[in-house]
């Protein structure tokens, strides 16, 4: 089947959808688009189903050649994009002719861009999802968790051109320049930490370590002393903030292991996980406590808008 041919995969480009759900008890993680906000907009722009397959482009460098006539949409990081010789905008749709070349430069703010194609990118599903999880060797074009490679063809249908659409600027990602505020729903072993440990945690400006990826973000800052509770391995939710023996927090993200045995303070609010997806190592963040009541109210309000 025709579609888009990968001329250059760039730094690290992955096929993703909303993720793999319902198989955690086999040890299979969710995977899925890291920045679900930008991913959602890319599909909405193309009038796709909300779970349609997209490309998650880390930093940039991806070059594609169209073999079909269709419409695409690009959202997420601020990244220069060229279609043939013209520079084009992000957060909007573009009509594409067979033979067109789409080339990504490198992100100037944020670090993950999303490319959706009208009708979605087609790939074999494994455990009901095409999401690529490199660590588990699952998903993607090969079903074996491989990132996009030169010569791959991303199958999609031909679509007639339609009126170009764009996302109003007020809904574009904001890339925090100084210190990002990350809301964390308090939970898990939170009550077992002392007041002093908790105050220190919320007062610290953490730096995202270079040893961070879709599995987890390691944070650097003053070590927190751990509560003396004995732990048995237990289920890990998306965004869980765990404190391993060295006292440096790790935020467990879309490619996380499904169970683990370190104490956790709670889990990052999903809207702020999208924010983390756009933060490179070296960026700073500070946690803010968020109650389950607040979190669920905000989720309800955002969908009813």
């Amino acid at each position: 089947m025709k579609g888009f041919k990968v001329i250059n995969p760039g730094m690290h480009s992955l096929l993703q959808d909303k993720g793999r759900m319902g198989y955690h008890s086999l040890g299979i993680t969710s995977g899925g688009a890291f920045d679900q906000y930008s991913f959602g907009w890319a599909n909405r722009l193309c009038h796709n189903l909300d779970n349609a397959g997209c490309i998650e482009i880390l930093v940039g460098g991806l070059i594609l050649e169209a073999q079909v006539t269709t419409q695409i949409a690009i959202t997420g990081a601020d990244v220069p994009i060229k279609i043939n010789d013209s520079t084009v905008e992000n957060w909007c749709t573009h009509n594409i002719q067979a033979g067109d070349k789409i080339a990504f430069g490198y992100a100037t703010a944020g670090c993950r861009a999303y490319l959706a194609v009208a009708g979605g990118i087609q790939a074999p599903l494994i455990f009901n999802s095409l999401s690529t999880v490199v660590r588990e060797s699952l998903g993607g074009l090969t079903k074996l968790g491989t990132p996009l490679e030169k010569g791959d063809v991303l199958a999609c249908s031909s679509n007639s051109h339609s009126t170009e659409r764009s996302v109003p600027a007020k809904y574009h990602c904001e890339f925090d320049t100084d210190i990002a505020e990350i809301r964390m729903v308090t939970g898990y072993q939170y009550e077992q930490f002392s007041q002093q440990q908790i105050s220190q945690f919320f007062a610290t400006d953490y730096v995202i370590s270079s040893n961070s990826d879709r599995m987890g973000y390691r944070l650097e800052g003053p070590a927190i002393e751990l509560p003396g509770c004995e732990m048995l391995s237990e289920g890990i939710s998306l965004g869980a903030v765990q404190l391993p023996a060295d006292g440096m927090p790790i935020i467990l993200l879309c490619d996380r292991q499904t169970i683990g045995g370190y104490p956790k303070l709670g889990s990052v609010f999903s809207q702020d996980i999208a924010k983390l997806a756009q933060m490179m190592p070296g960026k700073k963040l500070r946690f803010k406590p968020f109650s389950i009541q607040q979190a669920q109210r905000v989720l309800q309000e955002s969908t009813s808008k």
Binding site: M21, H24, S25, G27, F127, E234, T258, G266
Partner: protein
């Protein structure tokens, strides 16, 4: 300070974790199994996923269709019904063949030295125990089995191996497991299982599931090869 069980605690904006007891035991495993099955039926589409583990169950739900208070109530009601019901569930017993030998289990000698037992005694103690599948995680199909006889409990390697072969049977403290795919790992290797332990394309994806009982059956080198084991794993051609 005593803690009241079951303990129902918020884990994230869309998940709640239930602790059933202080330590894992037969009754806890039964309760987890019962609660997981009952919640699947009761919650239907509101339920996204479940992660059972040693003494807990993580319940992941759709917060747009059901709130955390309702979830907590459903969980408590379900566990309450188990008490009234109180029939121990019948566990499945799974038997898996293992070729135990220094060539397939390079850490047998280490464990023998550590425990003061012979290699044969280490093997005997490992295969005579009936294990419980407490959790699956770390990698697809990786089952955490307990508990290993304390005589052969062995701490993890100080430096993990870069490559542990698929099918490697291993011990870490009082836990044992089989590596379902080739991966790095720091557990002590005692043998090789010739069977496939995770298959993404075929059901069942794994020969075991959380709550099953598991026994290892010692086989020799010829049986290992006959059952599909690769002798390349023995000669180190596949690490």
């Amino acid at each position: 300070m005593s803690i009241e069980f079951p303990k129902v605690v918020v884990a994230s904006e869309n998940s709640t974790i239930v602790y059933f007891s202080e330590r894992p035991c037969r009754q806890t495993s039964d309760q987890i199994d019962y609660t997981a099955n009952a919640l699947r039926v009761k919650l239907g589409e509101d339920l996204i996923d479940l992660i059972p583990s040693y003494h807990s169950l993580l319940v992941i739900y759709n917060p747009l269709s059901i709130g955390y208070q309702k979830i907590e109530q459903e969980i408590r009601d379900t566990i309450g019904r188990w008490k009234a019901n109180n029939q121990p569930q019948q566990s499945r017993i799974v038997e898996l063949p293992v070729y135990y030998s220094p060539e397939s289990g390079p850490d047998l000698q280490r464990i023998a030295d550590h425990s003061g037992l012979s290699i044969d005694q280490v093997i005997e103690l490992h295969q005579q125990t009936e294990y419980t599948v407490y959790a699956m995680g770390f990698a697809p199909g990786f089952a955490y089995l307990g508990e290993v006889d304390e005589l052969i409990a062995m701490p993890r390697l100080a430096t993990p191996r870069h490559n542990v072969p698929q099918g490697a049977v291993a011990i870490a403290d009082r836990q044992t497991a089989i590596y379902p795919s080739q991966s790095p790992g720091g557990w002590n290797l005692v043998g090789l299982c010739p069977l496939s332990l995770f298959n993404a394309d075929k059901r069942p994806h794994s020969p075991m599931q959380v709550g099953d009982k598991l026994r290892f059956k010692s086989i020799d080198r010829d049986e290992f090869i006959q059952l599909g084991g690769s002798d390349k794993k023995l000669t180190g051609e596949i690490t």
